[in-house]
């Protein structure tokens, strides 16, 4: 007789999903799966719309990584127009992207995951939240709010609006940067550097209490993929895709992201709406790979900015070669925030940053465009085809979280095997199963407006359908 535990919905992530854990008769874990239970369908309903509407429409996929979708979309449109956007426009897009990544990482690290680190995996779920944190560690909660606000304000100051900014357009940016915006961002930097310094300080100490989780939270060999610049440095906007194996060895040459279909396949399973991308030469599912902050720090030679590189040197000492544990996604997010702040400062000090030529104008000059950028959660690909009038005929999106689907499922299995005892469910046991998903910071699209209204119910069900144990949250 097999039994099944269902965690539905998973809390403190972006979107709707559930986890099922299959148990054997003796209560041991046989299998575990991460299901995504929502369907968006953007690829289908944009068909027939003019291509230049795409950044505005595609940005609506998500309320957190909206900038990333707008950027990938705008880059695909740049290709359809067959234009090279002005240098200053590219710099402004980079700044916007970095601001967006900071706000998203702040949300993931402080709001969603830090209650686990600071209040404990076993703590009362009613208090294991940012509000609980505000009562026990108000200075850390304030830092989370401050860092997210800083990132949001960058997006607003450079691209016009915090949410769904209208400044990212095909051909570049809608408006040049103002002196007022530049000065306002620069003025905040010393405070943000200090905030990140003290956050890294306490988090590195906190990690010492999580040796077991580090060993068991998605800690297995996979490939890693991300974008690097020509010098092999971290690049979150443009560059070539690099894939490495679990020993740090490059798998083939760095390749143009436009040729992603030569390297990446997509498998489908009947029990989830999320596809399973894999590295084609190794097949499915052996071609499992990870993207996002952990992957990006694994594939690069250096970050390319001094403070981030200091932290990067410590990061590289965590494992023998490549850092395999998904728990370290959290650490990688903080290092990327340091990098992002340094890079924003560099870009704002470029001599032509106030150039008013920030947009190339053209109609459709190519029937196809592929836009790739690094979103907070990993590589994001928008691929469009248009007719002669520039109307969309086909779209394919590979969203960052999707790349990690195979790895997230394997991570859930690993944690379930280590922690779950099907004969008796405990809060800490179930929270760890959720927490390993939170390390990946999956963004299952912008459906979290309902997040707070949903309870979490975990049921242990026998083969006849009878509930033999239950835990309810929310």
């Amino acid at each position: 007789m097999t039994r099944q535990i269902t965690i539905d919905p998973i809390t403190r992530i972006e979107g709707h999903s559930r986890i099922t854990i299959q148990l054997a008769e003796d209560g041991s874990v046989q299998d575990a799966r991460f299901h995504v239970t929502q369907y968006r369908g953007f690829e289908k309903f944009v068909e027939g719309r003019p291509f230049y509407e795409m950044p505005g429409i595609m940005g609506r996929i998500c309320g957190i990584c909206t900038v990333s979708h707008e950027l990938a979309s705008a880059k695909a449109c740049d290709e359809i127009m067959a234009v090279r956007i002005p240098h200053t426009a590219a710099s402004l897009r980079r700044i916007t992207n970095l601001g967006s990544i900071i706000q998203s990482h702040a949300l993931s690290f402080f709001y969603l995951s830090s209650p686990d680190f600071l209040l404990g995996m076993e703590s009362d779920p009613a208090k294991r939240s940012i509000f609980g944190l505000a009562q026990t560690h108000p200075e850390i909660a304030r830092d989370g709010v401050r860092l997210r606000k800083f990132g949001q304000e960058i997006v607003e100051r450079v691209a016009g609006r915090r949410l769904h900014p209208q400044g990212i357009v095909p051909g570049g940016m809608a408006d040049p940067l103002t002196e007022e915006a530049r000065e306002a961002i620069l003025k905040d930097l010393p405070e943000i550097y200090a905030l990140l310094h003290r956050t890294l300080d306490w988090f590195k100490r906190a990690m010492e209490d999580y040796h077991l989780e580090i060993r068991t939270f998605g800690n297995f060999p996979t490939l890693f993929m991300g974008t690097v610049d020509r010098a092999g440095r971290l690049d979150l906007y443009d560059g070539k895709l690099r894939i490495i194996d679990e020993r740090g060895k490059r798998v083939g040459d760095d390749f143009d992201a436009r040729s992603y279909q030569d390297f990446l396949g997509e498998a489908v399973e009947p029990w989830t709406y999320m596809k399973f991308p894999y590295y084609k030469p190794l097949g499915y599912p052996d071609g499992i790979y990870r993207v996002g902050p952990l992957a990006r720090l694994n594939i690069i030679d250096t970050c390319g900015t001094p403070l981030a590189d200091q932290e990067f040197a410590e990061f590289r000492q965590l494992d023998r070669s490549v850092v395999l544990s998904s728990f370290y996604f959290h650490y990688a997010r903080l290092i990327e925030c340091v990098y992002a702040v340094e890079k924003i400062e560099d870009l704002l000090n470029e001599p032509d940053i106030f150039d008013t030529q920030v947009r190339a104008h053209a109609g459709p000059n190519s029937g196809e465009g592929i836009g790739v950028t690094e979103a907070p959660r990993g590589t994001l690909i928008h691929h469009y085809r248009v007719d002669d009038q520039g109307r969309m005929t086909w779209a394919n999106l590979i969203v960052s979280t999707t790349h990690n689907n195979l790895a997230m499922n394997r991570a859930v299995q690993q944690v379930a095997h280590r922690y779950v005892d099907g004969n008796k469910l405990t809060e800490g046991m179930l929270n760890r199963v959720e927490a390993v998903i939170r390390t990946f910071d999956p963004c299952l699209s912008c459906s979290t407006h309902a997040q707070n209204q949903l309870a979490m119910r975990v049921e242990l069900v026998d083969a006849s359908g009878s509930v033999i144990d239950e835990v309810v949250r929310g």
Binding site: V145, R162, C446, N452
Partner: protein
């Protein structure tokens, strides 16, 4: 309405006032908070008044809320006679929801202001009852008519504080 407006006066001295008009301006009457805020901005207001418009209340608003002596939220409501203006003093939420992401309720926003920054000022929620929340950037006629009325009530109330 006049009684509610006068009760707001008893809570504030000559100190910062934060006005937040919120809602989705692309969903018909849901955008009425923005429209009232914009109408209010066009009126002569004291210098200590700051006006913000946003689609949702987010945790990041806890800091400016905590720095105000009075907060006025303007939102759409549903389920009554379209165009009806109402107002209520929002109590501090003692058990805010455990997760925090895109959106917080007014009482939870106060709770965060108190927990994070040590101050939760009186917060009044003013609403105009809507009737059409479909896609579109225009208001229904009764809601449109209520916009200048509420803007003037708020402006007069602020001047009389």
């Amino acid at each position: 309405m006049p009684a509610a407006a006068s009760s707001m006066r008893s809570f504030v001295a000559d100190a910062p006032i934060l006005v937040i008009g919120f809602g989705n301006p692309l969903r018909g009457d849901d955008g009425v908070g923005w429209r009232v805020a914009q109408a209010l901005e066009a009126l002569a207001l004291p210098e200590q008044v700051t006006i913000i418009t946003c689609q949702q209340l987010t945790p990041e608003l806890a800091e400016p809320v905590s720095q105000a002596s009075l907060v006025i939220l303007i939102d759409a409501a549903r389920g009554g006679i379209p165009g009806t203006i109402d107002c209520q003093l929002v109590p501090l939420e003692t058990q805010p929801p455990p997760t925090l992401g895109h959106h917080v309720e007014p009482g939870a926003l106060l709770a965060y202001a108190q927990a994070l920054y040590g101050s939760a000022p009186p917060l009044w929620l003013w609403t105009i009852m809507g009737e059409a929340f479909e896609s579109g950037d225009s208001l229904s006629p009764p809601v449109e008519a209520a916009v200048p009325a509420l803007a003037h009530v708020l402006c007069d109330s602020i001047h009389e504080l």
